[in-house]
């Protein structure tokens, strides 16, 4: 078995080689996961913030449920989405199974609870500080959501990045609804799983390292944008 240094240099070699098949897989991975995280953020950020500011009977129960949904097993999500999109399922007519769209849907289901739960936490802390002022100037509880999201945007970056981490690393759901079809729905994680099952462990590790390098790149871009915005804005 090769050691970690050689695996890492293999990974660099893979990226460097510019193999178009590999790059197509990398790009599809990024496309699917970034799309899923953006959709999850559009849903989860306001939802989490609303949960943070609202007061209704059973709110604690909802919070526990959302927290628990962070533990949704990918395979189960994959099956759920599969059952919906299958030709035998209610949405079969859409013919989405074994397409990137199906993979995005599955990841949205997986990531939205994570973004929601973490957003709830961040916004609850901020709301403790802002709440009286915002109510005083006439905003209803729900009307404070956009303000809190905006002022908490730097802290929320980590919540969204956590969602991205889950999406980009995930294999159980996308392999069920995507089918890991070569040239169509094959992404980094399913490739890694395939190479592992072929016993090509060091290739799998090298691909994993490539995936990680991509994740670092995405995080670095987001981090830099955040840093930039923070210098302009007033943290």
């Amino acid at each position: 078995m090769q050691n970690f240094a050689s695996i890492f240099s293999n990974a660099i070699g893979l990226i460097w080689s510019g193999d178009p098949a590999l790059w197509a897989i990398i790009l599809l991975s990024l496309q699917v996961s970034i799309a899923a995280v953006l959709i999850a953020a559009v849903i989860g950020l306001p939802l989490g913030a609303a949960l943070a500011v609202s007061r209704f009977p059973g709110r604690q129960v909802v919070i526990v449920l959302v927290n628990a949904l962070m533990g949704l097993p990918p395979v189960v999500v994959g099956l759920m989405v599969y059952l919906m999109l299958s030709n035998a399922g209610p949405l079969g007519v859409l013919q989405l199974l074994y397409t990137p769209t199906a993979m995005i849907i599955a990841q949205v289901v997986l990531v939205t609870p994570i973004v929601t739960a973490l957003t709830r936490q961040v916004i609850e802390t901020l709301d403790a500080e802002y709440h009286e002022h915002l109510r005083s100037i006439g905003l209803s509880r729900l009307a404070t959501v956009p303000v809190l999201l905006w002022d908490g945007r730097f802290a929320l970056m980590t919540a969204v990045l956590a969602g991205f981490g889950r999406a980009i690393a995930e294999v159980g759901a996308v392999i069920i609804v995507g089918g890991n079809i070569n040239h169509v729905t094959r992404v980094m994680t399913t490739t890694i799983a395939l190479e592992t099952s072929k016993g090509n462990l060091s290739l799998a590790m090298a691909l994993g390292t490539v995936l990680l390098i991509m994740a670092v790149a995405v995080n670095a871009v987001v981090g830099l944008l955040g840093l930039r915005a923070r210098q302009v804005a007033y943290a």
């Binding site: 009286e132 002022h133 100037i137 006439g138």
Partner: protein, 249 residues
């Protein structure tokens, strides 16, 4: 903020002292926390004439009362009723500033009051000028000095031209000159139809602002009298003791 005519301040504008009509009535107020009553006020009425000053020792319940009257805290029991659905604004003892620029904070307050964008720019500029903060308009509001923050919060609230303005020790961190000009702004707001309900520990200030005093102690309203009566002949021991501390001023 230079040379605001200091002597104006003693002319306290109380409109029609006898024609006052109650604009705010609290009945049966009780605010509990565990087994202690933080507020216990069977009846409190505030008239529309002149400022109302709330005084009393630390921990008397002044800030809690303001919050209850303003509708931020729902009391355990009792209610607060307004004569009309008045616009209200409040400046907190510890002003809360959003993570935005100085101008952005004022703008946000005005926007929340439904003031259209085209009018806001001029009003923001005017408010900042009143607070002497024009030069700091683009600075982060949260990096302002303590006094600057307090002035910012006050002029933001004033810029909304509320019907009722709750002020919680609004000049506690201000220098003497700034205190003067803020007192003038308060007096002016009062003249132009804003009902001011203000907490202060400063007997001198209370005298300059004028109006009536609600004196609180241990969550109760001990007396409610015009400020001159209160300063000259407080009815309760608590008030006498409270004022005694200030005699050296």
């Amino acid at each position: 903020m230079r040379d605001t005519a200091a002597h104006d301040l003693t002319v306290v504008p109380i409109r029609g002292e006898d024609t006052g009509i109650p604009i705010l009535t609290a009945t049966n107020l009780l605010l509990d926390k565990g087994d202690t009553a933080l507020l216990d006020i069977p009846r409190l009425q505030v008239q529309n004439h002149g400022p109302t000053l709330i005084m009393g020792p630390n921990g008397a319940g002044k800030s809690l009362l303001l919050r209850v009257l303003h509708g931020l805290i729902r009391p355990t029991r009792g209610q607060v009723s307004l004569a009309e659905p008045f616009d209200q604004a409040m400046v907190f003892q510890r002003p809360v500033l959003l993570r935005r620029s100085v101008a952005g904070n004022v703008d946000f307050v005005l926007k929340s009051a439904g003031i259209p964008r085209r009018h806001r720019k001029a009003r923001v500029a005017r408010a900042l000028a009143q607070a002497g903060l024009t030069d700091l308009a683009r600075q982060s509001a949260r990096s302002l000095s303590g006094g600057e923050q307090q002035k910012l919060a006050l002029v933001s609230a004033l810029a909304r031209k509320p019907d009722i303005l709750f002020l919680d020790e609004p000049t506690s961190n201000l220098d003497p000159t700034a205190t003067q000009s803020i007192e003038q702004l308060i007096a002016q707001a009062n003249r132009t139809g804003t009902k001011v309900i203000m907490v202060t520990h400063d007997a001198g200030q209370a005298k300059r602002i004028g109006g009536e005093v609600i004196f609180m102690n241990k969550g109760r309203v001990i007396e409610q009298t015009p400020i001159q009566h209160f300063l000259q002949s407080p009815k309760s021991d608590a008030a006498r003791h409270y004022l005694a501390g200030g005699l050296l001023i």
